[in-house]
């Protein structure tokens, strides 16, 4: 996360860290059910074997030194069949829900953001020298309508219907490498709902180059069917 700030420890309890089998963090993810994690498909490109991955929950430090940390093996991988940058991981055993580990809410199918929501992204990714390395960081910015985001001076038609943009048009803060797969959540009444999976961007925190996220509400039927049938 570029700029933003260090989060209050465990204030984003659905945030997980996706790791190699020897414990190196390389992507984010989101707990949506005690046994299921949502992440980005491109995070799974290194290997299609579930045993190549581990999921860490309940942590604030990337080093995962806290007592609250839970570690889980991955039992199955499910990539979205039409090559959208979204994937599901089934944990070999459910996570224990407690003060430090709580699932996120998912939006209604095809729920649309009104273009004014204030949303937040979190992760342990690259900070581009803005500090907070090694601790879970957060930043908030508005969702930008696709029509605006696809203007020539922004992302010039690159953003697809199943994606959404979020960021400050002046740049300065953004998600970045290592945050991929993590959540973009928006406040809805008094709870957070995950509307995006961190996917790609042209650089990080550049002016006129907001981050691009997979639009989770488009994939609710797919998520539900995978969870029900597996």
């Amino acid at each position: 996360i570029v700029a933003g700030c260090i989060s209050h420890p465990h204030s984003w309890p659905w945030q997980i860290s996706l790791r190699t089998s020897y414990g190196l963090h390389f992507c984010g993810g989101t707990l949506i059910d005690p046994q299921w994690v949502l992440t980005a498909a491109h995070c799974l490109e290194k290997s299609s074997r579930p045993s190549a991955y581990k999921v860490y929950l309940g942590l604030h430090r990337e080093r995962a030194s806290e007592a609250s940390v839970q570690k889980r093996d991955v039992e199955k991988l499910f990539k979205e069949p039409h090559r959208a940058d979204i994937a599901l991981l089934k944990l070999r055993s459910p996570a224990i829900i407690n003060n430090h580990v709580i699932p996120i809410c998912l939006p209604k199918e095809n729920a649309v953001l009104g273009g004014r929501e204030e949303c937040y992204v979190t992760g342990w990714g690259d900070t581009k020298g803005t500090g907070g390395d090694g601790l879970l960081k957060e930043t908030g910015f508005p969702v930008i309508e696709n029509k605006i985001c696809n203007r020539p001076e922004f992302l010039n038609g690159r953003v697809k219907k199943h994606e959404l943009c979020a960021g400050n048009i002046h740049g300065g803060t953004d998600s970045c490498q290592g945050d991929s797969g993590g959540p973009l959540v928006c406040l809805d009444q008094d709870r957070f709902v995950q509307h995006g999976v961190t996917s790609w961007g042209l650089g990080c925190a550049q002016p006129m180059k907001p981050g691009v996220y997979v639009r989770v509400s488009n994939y609710i039927p797919w998520i539900e069917s995978i969870m029900e049938n597996n």
Binding site: A3, G4, C5, S7, H8, P9, H10, S11, W12, P13, W14, P34, I97, N99, H100, I102, P103, I104, C105, L106, N110, V112, L113, G114, G115, R116, E118, Y120, E138, T139, G140, F141, V143, E145, N146, K147, I148, R151, P152, E153, K161, N168, H170, G172, T173, V185, L187, D188, Q189, D190, R191, F192, V193, P207, M208
Partner: protein, 555 residues
């Protein structure tokens, strides 16, 4: 033709206290709208419809200035014309909220007698909208809306109200309200309140002032001209061809040579950015190609390479002649002599979300808290969307109504703000009193276990799916799909498939705060609440963390 409700903007869960009204019983909101259209006792500006009791209230109240309360299953419908900030013809029907003359002098309230003793008063002319100090045209003046002024030396003056461009457009068509609904290539436009075939974020209820009606071409976002989403699957949106008015555009308010507000009316000749880059000419496409050209924005004074703010930016800016810096802000001396506000970058964390508190009733609170008790984000005081209001810095100069910070301009019991939730107008803020020892506790939301328990209810019982079919008074419930003995068309398994209206089981399809209810088989009693035990508190709910997030947002 569209339906009758297309000329109304709806707000869920709104209610007025003791408004000037007429009460009817109607079966549907459309019938209620017809009542409003036909109302003869007063000018009906809006109506309230309650679905459960099928009660219809036609309202004379100006919902822009009325105090609106929150109530479930009541929906407020406001006539669009009364929300528009433009005039048709001489502006006799103008009901906008412009309150300054064309020279920028604040208007005198119509009900006031100083500094000028008015001939036109609300008492003498009750039906011409003489509210507050808004510009009006009670005498059909050819030159349009005017007001008495607060300048003792100027009794009255005209106001600068843009024309509602119905047949044609001025400038970039920001005020176009016509009915063209096809694009330049002849594609039919998609309705704004539909998400098919293209989902989008321009929800009419989120932009009441943009008049996103039916499928008419509009320009809600600073495009060079009106546009619409199309019904073609292969074309998401496209511009429309709207004829340009032959009459000259309304004369802009006199420009300034210094910075006032966001500098949208700045007309000075500074052409260097804050980092010292020379500005690129607006009419040039080199080194940076762009769409902010004088042709596309004829009314924004994009002269030479002067700094301007044509699109609602924070302050005047320009494209630069430096290839590596596409655009930058300019530093313009402020009209009040204070230093121009630098863009907020890297505000220290503590100042972002302060754990501060308020003294007494919080009238003097000057902190930066900007969330309500239930976690909703505050609407900026200077904004009229999604909620119109009259708590502006002009009207309350001593209330420090900056940004969207919690404040108490009207000596309420504690700091509050309008919310960005279109359906919730305002709420108290999540702040402690400095002298209280007890921390503010957030109202406890309903706790649900991960698997809902069918025999008890959480919160208001909206998710209840048990089989209790008797009311608290022992009456048997009527089946939801039946119309006997009580006919109703609003809560049926067909209209509310998601509400679980099975058989005659108690349910809460409208989120009633008192919990599940049902229509009864007793002809004398239309409906009654049921008595269902509350579930024991469970541990967690999705999306709700135990430790409060910082919510730092870099601007």
């Amino acid at each position: 033709q569209g339906d009758i409700l297309d000329s109304y903007v709806r707000t869920e869960g709104a209610w007025l206290l003791n408004p000037k009204k007429e009460v009817y019983r109607t079966n549907s909101k459309e019938e209620c709208a017809e009542r409003c259209e036909a109302e003869s006792k007063f000018t009906c500006r809006a109506f309230l419809f309650t679905s459960k009791d099928q009660q219809c209230l036609t309202l004379a109240e100006n919902t822009k200035t009325a105090v609106i309360f929150r109530r479930t299953n009541a929906v407020l419908y406001e006539k669009r014309i009364y929300l528009l900030e433009c005039k048709e013809g001489k502006g006799v029907n103008y009901r906008g909220t412009e309150a300054k003359t064309q020279k920028g002098v604040p208007c005198q309230k119509w009900a006031d007698t100083v500094p000028h003793k008015p001939n036109y008063t609300p008492e003498k002319y009750p039906n011409v909208g003489l509210e507050e100090n808004y510009c009006r045209n009670p005498d059909g003046d050819e030159r349009g809306p005017w007001c008495y002024t607060t300048d003792p030396a100027t009794r009255f003056d005209y106001c600068n109200i843009p024309e509602c461009e119905v047949e044609c457009m001025h400038c970039s068509g920001e005020n176009y309200h016509g009915v063209v609904a096809t694009t330049t290539s002849g594609l039919e436009c998609q309705r704004w309140d539909s998400q098919q075939p293209h989902s989008h974020g321009y929800l009419p209820e989120n932009f009441p002032e943009k008049d996103l009606k039916m499928n008419y071409c509009r320009n809600p976002d600073g495009e060079p001209r009106p546009w619409c989403f199309t019904t073609s699957l292969t074309k998401r949106w496209e511009y429309c061809d709207i004829p340009r008015c032959t009459t000259p555009p309304p004369a802009p308010a006199p420009g300034r040579q210094c910075l006032s507000g966001r500098g949208e009316d700045y007309q000075g000749t500074i052409s260097v950015t804050e980092s010292g880059n020379t500005c690129q000419h607006w009419s040039s496409q080199s080194p940076h190609r762009h769409a902010r050209t004088p042709e596309n924005y004829p009314c924004k004074n994009l002269e030479e390479n002067y700094c301007r703010n044509p699109d609602g930016e924070k302050m005047p800016w320009c494209y630069t002649t430096n290839k590596t810096a596409r655009w930058e802000y300019c530093t313009i001396p402020s009209c009040d002599g204070s230093k121009p506000e630098a863009p907020a970058v890297d505000v220290p964390e503590q100042a972002q979300i302060s754990e501060d508190c308020y003294q007494g009733n919080g009238v003097t609170y000057r902190g930066t808290a900007s969330f309500t008790l239930t976690g909703k984000k505050c609407q900026a005081w200077s904004s009229m969307s999604p909620h119109r209001h009259n708590k502006t810095a002009d009207q309350y100069p001593n209330a420090d109504l900056r940004q969207n910070y919690c404040r108490n301009p009207d000596a309420d019991s504690r700091p509050w703000c309008y919310t960005t939730d279109p359906s919730v107008r305002w709420e108290y803020c999540n702040l402690k009193r400095c002298d209280s020892r007890v921390p503010v506790t957030l109202p406890k939301p309903p706790q649900t276990t991960l698997e809902p328990n069918p025999d008890c209810i959480n919160g208001n019982g909206k998710d209840y799916r048990g089989t209790v079919a008797k009311t608290a008074r022992g009456r048997t419930c009527q089946a939801w799909s039946s119309q006997k003995p009580h006919s109703h068309d609003y809560f049926t398994p067909m209209t509310h498939p998601e509400a679980g209206l099975d058989k005659n089981y108690c349910r809460n399809p409208d989120g009633d705060v008192n919990g599940p209810w049902c229509y009864t088989t007793d002809p004398r009693k239309a409906w009654e609440y049921c008595d269902i035990p509350k579930c024991p508190p469970a541990q967690y709910e999705c999306g709700k963390s135990k430790f409060r997030p910082k919510l730092c947002a870099q601007r």
